[in-house]
């Protein structure tokens, strides 16, 4: 896996440097903006920014899997839960965060490999069915093994306080965006190279891909594993932000939301994954505002789902490629910095 990644990475940067902005540049720019934001935003917005970062890890991985490799996963919420519970159990035993995050990613990668092996043998609705089952089974596992996972109440996560020079929210935002930017960088380098072409070839026509000498099963399993690792990282980051994990944080609707978010954002594009991550945080917040304005707090519990549905329908009608496919009429020569507005 790593060999493949390195090779793909170097090749990709060599070949595409002339045409596209290097992912390294984007990531460095992103990091600068995030750090700047954490010093200007009020605490709650910083917390939301951190949440966007954590979501970006999983949506980026999912959009590569679904958009580039054509595998539909309804079970990424469960993979996030795997990462989150691993981190919680690790922290409560050893309280060593960096290693904990790494362990969470590794465990989720292993789980992803098992699901991926099964998934590579399944197509279309059957694959969706398998991953759906994985998502549904999370609460049952936590209540069956309640001595380890403490059922619906979940576990609290032991964390050391952040360094004194920064607030808790700033620290969370740095951590989450650190994870998110590394994820985006790795995925961008991976998908630009041979691995990305293999994935697309498998997605478009498996027989043709096989004739071209691509191992279909290996590509599919690899794609699933990469995507699972991203979900595991996201889960671990969520466990850190919330200082707790519970099955209620990873319901079936989360998996559906993730999928809707990347479709609305633009399937197969990392920019779409970013839009999706922002929507995952923004839409429930908007639903809350509306619920409050309407004078009924009971609305908001159900409004977010409706909202996502409506947005999905509207976006699919107006821009079938997702929001990221919308082209604002720029002239090509304007450098990207000015394109923000």
């Amino acid at each position: 896996m790593t060999a493949l990644q390195d090779r793909a990475g170097t090749k990709a940067t060599d070949r595409t440097k002339a045409k596209k902005i290097s992912p390294w540049l984007v990531v460095v720019a992103g990091a600068i903006i995030v750090v700047a934001l954490t010093y200007t935003l009020p605490p709650f917005r910083t917390y939301q920014l951190a949440t966007v970062g954590a979501y970006l890890c999983v949506t980026a991985g999912l959009t590569v899997l679904t958009g580039l490799n054509g595998q539909l996963s309804l079970g990424h919420g469960a993979l996030m839960a795997t990462g989150a519970y691993t981190l919680a159990l690790w922290q409560n035993k050893f309280n060593l965060l960096p290693v904990g995050i790494l362990v969470a990613v590794l465990v989720t990668t292993a789980v992803g490999a098992v699901i991926g092996l099964a998934a590579a043998r399944l197509r279309g609705p059957y694959l969706a069915g398998l991953t759906l089952a994985v998502a549904v089974v999370v609460p049952s596992i936590t209540s069956t093994f309640d001595e380890t996972f403490n059922s619906d109440q979940g576990l609290s996560v032991m964390l050391n306080p952040p360094p004194e020079s920064m607030t808790n929210e700033q620290w969370q935002a740095w951590l989450c965006w650190g994870g998110a930017l590394v994820t985006v960088l790795v995925l961008a380098l991976l998908t630009r190279g041979r691995f990305g072409r293999d994935m697309k070839a498998v997605r478009d026509d498996e027989t043709a891909a096989r004739l071209a000498g691509i191992s279909v099963a290996r590509t599919q399993v690899a794609a699933f594993v990469v995507s699972a690792a991203c979900a595991g990282l996201a889960g671990a980051l969520f466990a850190v932000i919330a200082q707790s994990v519970s099955p209620g944080a990873f319901p079936l609707t989360l998996s559906l939301f993730l999928l809707m978010a990347i479709v609305i954002g633009g399937l197969g594009r990392l920019s779409g994954a970013l839009i999706g991550a922002v929507l995952l945080v923004a839409l429930p917040a908007v639903a809350h505002e509306i619920g409050e304005a309407a004078g009924s707090q009971r609305l908001e519990g159900n409004l977010a789902l409706t909202f996502f549905g409506v947005v999905l329908v509207v976006v699919m009608l107006a821009a079938p490629g997702g929001l990221a496919s919308l082209r604002v009429p720029f002239t090509k020569s304007i450098p990207f910095k000015k394109k923000g507005h």
């Binding site: 903006i33 808790n168 919330a242 707790s244 944080a249 990873f250 920019s271």
Partner: protein, 420 residues
């Protein structure tokens, strides 16, 4: 990648734009968040939707109604109370989110009466880190009573172990020799309650648990029937009390049910059971506040009046009584904390204790005890109406004896608002 860059830049700049408008929201009185000369902002998290919404969703509106009543009569030390109610759907993950919103964005002075054992357990550390008073948690978990670990957190309900001991004492006296079993929620609620029951009765014959995310208690009730249980103690939220009693009737299992206070409001249960409401006849539960159907009680008279004027005449039940009693206690604490209101001040005021109110037993607050009401009295349902029987008991969550508590009931002040 170019597009990624564009989107990244656009999104982050938009977020930066938000910050400028959002940042100006904090008020001038920087010393105590949520308190100005004319207003006190407090927040709560409640299950207005989801598996525990039945009954519980009426609590916060009742609390708010009492605050509106106080506000209409001049407020507390000239300050009006604003009560921000957030729905968490009884999902611990949502609680994390909404409590952060209340504390970081809405800058509330305190969290009041946040409901639920699994939900509130997850925000204790967050509230402690931010030094937010966490008053009168709507649950009887023993976690709220840890003054050393969580100096700002106070319970309201009698803790579930106290309740378990009192219910078990009744079982021991009335159903001696019968096979006693237990069905509880699979969290601290169920565990604390079972601990109390077993402190008095010894090990129960059979114990089962349920999770709110799975609305089917068929297997559990079936197992209790198979074990030949004659008395079943339920540590359940109202929806699951109704479900358990209904499921038992469906499979022809008719034990004596003894129900935790938090899952026993007869109005909620009758509504959930619908045509099967007669199954509630004879169900034993416990309470520590005046019962909603006791129209002659001066507290119920007061609450009914407030309910009519400020809660658009919502149906009176024990949840409304509960919500208003919480509000009454909070106003007492505010009065006691004095005009110069600070976060430390209100915690000191609560620890000083000495509050008398609607409860049949006193609240226990002191510097080394942050648990709420000290005991309960048993109730039973006859002819569809709950009523008290026997005497009020008080005990502790340790090995202390369950003793009878007798003291004259306190009447509410004439204007219905506690004095300073």
């Amino acid at each position: 990648m170019k597009r990624t860059a564009t989107v990244l830049a656009a999104v982050l700049l938009a977020a930066a734009g938000c910050s400028n408008s959002g940042g100006g929201g904090s008020s001038g009185s920087a010393d105590t968040p949520g308190v100005t000369d004319t207003e006190i902002v407090v927040g709560t998290h409640m299950p207005l939707t989801g598996p525990a919404a039945a009954g519980y969703s009426k609590i916060a509106p009742a609390t708010k109604a009492y605050f509106d009543y106080v506000n209409a009569n001049g407020g507390v030390h000239g300050r009006k109370i604003t009560y921000k109610i957030m729905d968490d759907g009884y999902n611990p993950a949502n609680t994390q989110q909404v409590v952060r919103q209340l504390v970081l964005q809405d800058k509330v002075f305190a969290i009041l009466n946040g409901l639920g054992t699994p939900t509130h357990s997850g925000v204790l550390d967050f509230l402690k880190t931010n030094r937010v008073p966490d008053l009168f948690v709507a649950s009887g978990s023993r976690s709220w009573n840890q003054p050393d670990k969580y100096p700002g957190t106070f319970g309201f309900n009698p803790d579930y172990t106290v309740e378990g001991k009192i219910l078990a004492t009744h079982i021991k006296e009335t159903y001696a020799g019968k096979k006693v079993c237990f069905l509880g929620q699979d969290d601290d609620f169920g565990r604390d309650s079972l601990a109390g029951v077993e402190k008095v009765l010894g090990p129960v014959a059979a114990k089962q648990s349920y999770v709110t995310s799975n609305p089917n208690v068929g297997p559990q009730i079936g197992a209790l029937k198979a074990a030949g249980c004659q008395v079943v103690v339920l540590a359940t939220v109202p929806g699951f009390t109704a479900l358990s009693i209904g499921t038992a009737a469906k499979i022809g299992f008719k034990p004596q049910f003894v129900v935790s206070n938090v899952g026993s409001d007869p109005t909620t249960l009758a509504k959930t059971l619908g045509a099967a409401a007669p199954l509630l006849e004879g169900v034993v539960a416990a309470n520590y506040l005046p019962l909603a159907n006791d129209a002659a009680n001066p507290w119920i008279e007061l609450y009914t009046k407030v309910n009519k004027e400020y809660n658009s005449g919502a149906e009176m039940d024990n949840n409304v009584v509960y919500g208003m009693s919480v509000a009454y206690l909070f106003v007492q604490a505010l009065q006691s904390a004095g005009k110069d209101l600070t976060r430390d001040g209100i915690i000191e005021a609560v620890q000083k204790g000495g509050f008398t109110g609607p409860g049949l037993v006193p609240v226990r607050y002191s510097a080394d005890d942050h648990s709420g009401y000290a005991g309960e009295q048993l109730t039973t349902i006859e002819g569809g109406v709950a009523k008290y029987f026997g005497k009020a008991y008080r005990t502790d969550d340790g090995d202390g004896a369950v003793e009878v508590y007798e003291a004259a009931a306190v009447a509410p002040p004439a204007n219905g608002i506690p004095a300073a």
